[in-house]
């Protein structure tokens, strides 16, 4: 518990230093209207980053999340055109779960390395989305639906103009708090770290590793389906080629948050802090006039630095 607290405190410190540095260096950065409005865009990677934390903690990876999201978006759009929003929401989440279950079966029961499986399904699900939609976008949703991503909950009297708290933040908080409780307070969280630390030992300890892996990849798919709803509402359109490169942001959040890429150590609250750090980094660089094509260089660099660091910290811990 104490170790986790120290880690999160360190991340919080990094975040505060970043905010301070950007505020001094970048004109117009510290505007609460802008920052809160930008937070709308952090919800989709944030929702997926929570199950990704569990997956990475078992020394797995899921590269197919962005493709599952695109597929669920297309299914949502197509079903919506035939029926209504409620049915379409169910369809998107079911399709997401099925896509995750495919990953889960191949990884959990057929024991194929997750990197290979999800690399393949990344292409597979994206291809399915392209094929189903034939490249056409699906739009025309009611404003009640787009409100889940575009709406505001209430205004905060900070700054000269009131800043609005965007609706989707609520969904992100629910997923993060739920994820953090599962990780810290239930057997699922303990098993996750056990499997990541030593899978063979976990099997000998009578943990049903196959079933467990199947479960977390399926849950990840389901949450990709949920994220797809927010993503579709945010742009009021579902497209097959959407959210390309989203997996980089999601994995970066988890790794910056202190979860070891080789497994064994996980923190959902750390992932949330990682999300904020990457969000602030992107927003700050954006405001500083760095083009979006170059911003991913910084995200990539940050990912490598923290991954190396996590491994180093972990290796030192194991030797001790």
């Amino acid at each position: 518990m104490r170790k986790q607290f120290g880690h999160d405190a360190a991340l919080l410190l990094v975040l505060l230093i970043m905010v301070a540095a950007f505020s001094i260096k970048v004109e117009g950065f510290l505007d609460w209207f802008n920052i809160l409005d930008r937070a709308r865009y952090w919800v989709v990677p944030g929702i997926i980053a929570v199950p990704m934390t569990f997956i990475i903690a078992t020394s797995g990876i899921d590269l197919s999340v962005a493709s599952i999201l695109a597929l669920c978006g297309i299914v949502f759009g197509m079903v919506f055109q035939q029926t209504n929003v409620a049915v379409a929401i169910c369809a998107a989440v079911i399709v997401g779960s099925c896509a995750g279950a495919i990953n889960g079966i191949v990884i959990g029961y057929l024991r194929v390395p997750p990197l290979v499986v999800t690399l393949a399904t990344m292409a597979l699900f994206r291809g399915l989305a392209m094929g189903l939609s034939k490249g056409a976008p699906f739009g025309g949703y009611p404003s009640g639906f787009t409100w889940i991503s575009q709406g505001d909950l209430f205004s905060l009297p900070i700054g000269k103009t009131p800043a609005y708290v965007p609706t989707p933040i609520l969904a992100l908080l629910i997923v993060v708090i739920g994820g953090a409780l599962i990780m810290r307070r239930t057997r699922i969280g303990r098993y996750t770290e056990h499997i990541g630390e030593n899978e063979i030992a976990a099997r000998f300890a009578a943990i049903n590793v196959n079933w467990f892996k199947f479960g977390i990849y399926t849950a990840c798919g389901a949450l990709c389906g949920v994220a797809a709803l927010f993503h579709t509402a945010l742009y009021a359109t579902a497209k097959a080629d959407t959210a390309q490169g989203l997996e980089l942001d999601v994995i970066a959040c988890v790794v910056v948050g202190g979860t070891r890429i080789s497994g064994g150590r996980a923190s959902v609250t750390g992932t949330l802090l990682g999300l904020l750090i990457i969000g602030i980094l992107r927003y700050g660089l954006d405001m500083a006039g760095v083009k979006s094509q170059y911003i991913i260089i910084f995200v990539g660099a940050l990912l490598i630095v923290t991954a190396v660091f996590n491994e180093w910290v972990g290796a030192r811990g194991e030797r001790a």
């Binding site: 170790k3 505020s23 742009y235 405001m287 500083a288």
Partner: protein, 369 residues
């Protein structure tokens, strides 16, 4: 043992934090080192208008504030939009405003939305955008208008309530008439044709197709569209070449092809030249003359149509600035814009550039864009 381990972790985490901080600060220093910094502003949230004036002209008093106009094409890096940039920058220099011309590397409305978010956050005075999708772009444009930013749609329209004005290159009817007349003249009034478009959501392309169909029914009722859904080329030259080559095989009695985007026509021309069917199939459409000079010279394409993109970019910036200054009000019927002169305004909010030009072997040398 357990406590020692935890303690060790704690120490390492602090070290880790220090190291990460140094890396981040170095990155920040590298990226923002060249920006003018104003530390005094940083401790309080700044309002948008202040931000703009400071960002644009830090040294001058607020009265002489230089306007910042963001101009966003559907995508950057294709000749048509490069030509509009030339016109936009020209108008910016003429009017003494800062013109930021930037857009996504491919025709993706979500990338446009993300870039517009930044422009809104930076507090630009006006945004002129060529939307890839009128519905998907609407929420972000409405947000801009809520924050007092004037919004101009150009090249393709956005939803009416999401923008102040639309700078329209020509009415859809005049483009459609020019295209269908070229087809009827070259392939006969009973030509069997197909259409290659950019994307199924581009508002301008959909309007042209609807107008072409309307004009065809009126004037050439025996002309026939062989494919109800147009072929999609996604503003990608390779894809345009491929769908055209496929269509030449798929429709043996094809007599004509309309390629109605600036990327699709050169791509389609390449496919037609390779197939050696240029004397059987008449290809026409919309694009910039520089990209077509070789196909016009070797006779693959006889005639094609376009408005002047340099003037389009020029007019968009003029309309944006006039709208910020209040010189262009909703309901106006005419609008005077520098060297392009007086232009008509339809429906109170559509500034019209004019009739399209038909390019042929004889006049193509006069144009350079």
């Amino acid at each position: 043992m357990k406590t020692i381990l935890n303690f060790r972790f704690w120490i390492l985490d602090s070290r880790r934090a220090a190291c990460a901080t140094i890396v981040l600060l170095a990155a920040l220093a590298a990226t923002t080192g060249c920006q003018p910094s104003e530390p005094a502003k940083s401790d309080a949230p700044t309002s948008t208008t202040e931000t703009t004036s400071n960002a644009a002209t830090p040294a001058e008093p607020a009265a002489a504030k230089k306007l910042t106009i963001g101009v966003m094409p559907k995508l950057v890096g294709i000749p048509f939009f490069t030509a509009t940039e030339k016109g936009a920058k020209e108008a910016g220099a003429e009017l003494g405003v800062e013109v930021v011309f930037d857009g996504p590397p491919k025709n993706d409305v979500q990338l446009q939305v993300q870039m517009l978010e930044t422009w809104i956050a930076k507090g630009f005075d006006a945004i002129a955008v060529a939307p890839n999708d009128p519905d998907a772009i609407a929420p972000v444009l409405e947000k801009a208008r809520k924050r007092g930013i004037k919004v101009i749609a150009w090249d393709a329209d956005a939803k009416k309530e999401a923008r102040d004005f639309f700078v329209n290159q020509c009415t859809g009817a005049s483009v459609a008439k020019a295209l269908v007349d070229v087809m009827a003249e070259g392939a006969g009034p009973e030509a069997k044709y197909i259409i290659v478009t950019g994307s199924l959501t581009a508002a301008n392309q959909n309007i042209w197709m609807a107008e072409m169909e309307k004009y065809r029914q009126e004037k050439y009722p025996n002309m026939k569209n062989l494919s109800e859904t147009p072929k999609v080329s996604e503003e990608d030259p390779a894809l345009a070449t491929q769908v055209t080559a496929d269509s030449l095989k798929a429709y043996p009695d094809l007599q004509g092809i309309f390629a109605i985007t600036s990327v699709a026509l050169p791509g389609a021309s390449e496919a037609l030249r390779k197939s050696g069917m240029a004397d059987k199939v008449l290809l026409t459409g919309l694009t910039t003359p520089n990209s077509m000079k070789e196909y016009i010279t070797d006779g693959t394409v006889k005639k094609f149509v376009l408005w002047n993109p340099v003037d389009l970019g020029y007019l968009a910036v003029h309309a944006a600035v006039a709208s910020v200054k209040g010189e262009l009000q909703p309901g106006a019927t005419t609008f005077k814009a520098g060297r392009v002169g007086e232009r008509s305004v339809l429906e109170g909010d559509q500034v019209i550039l004019g009739d399209p030009i038909v390019f042929t072997k004889d006049n193509i040398a006069q144009f350079d864009f």
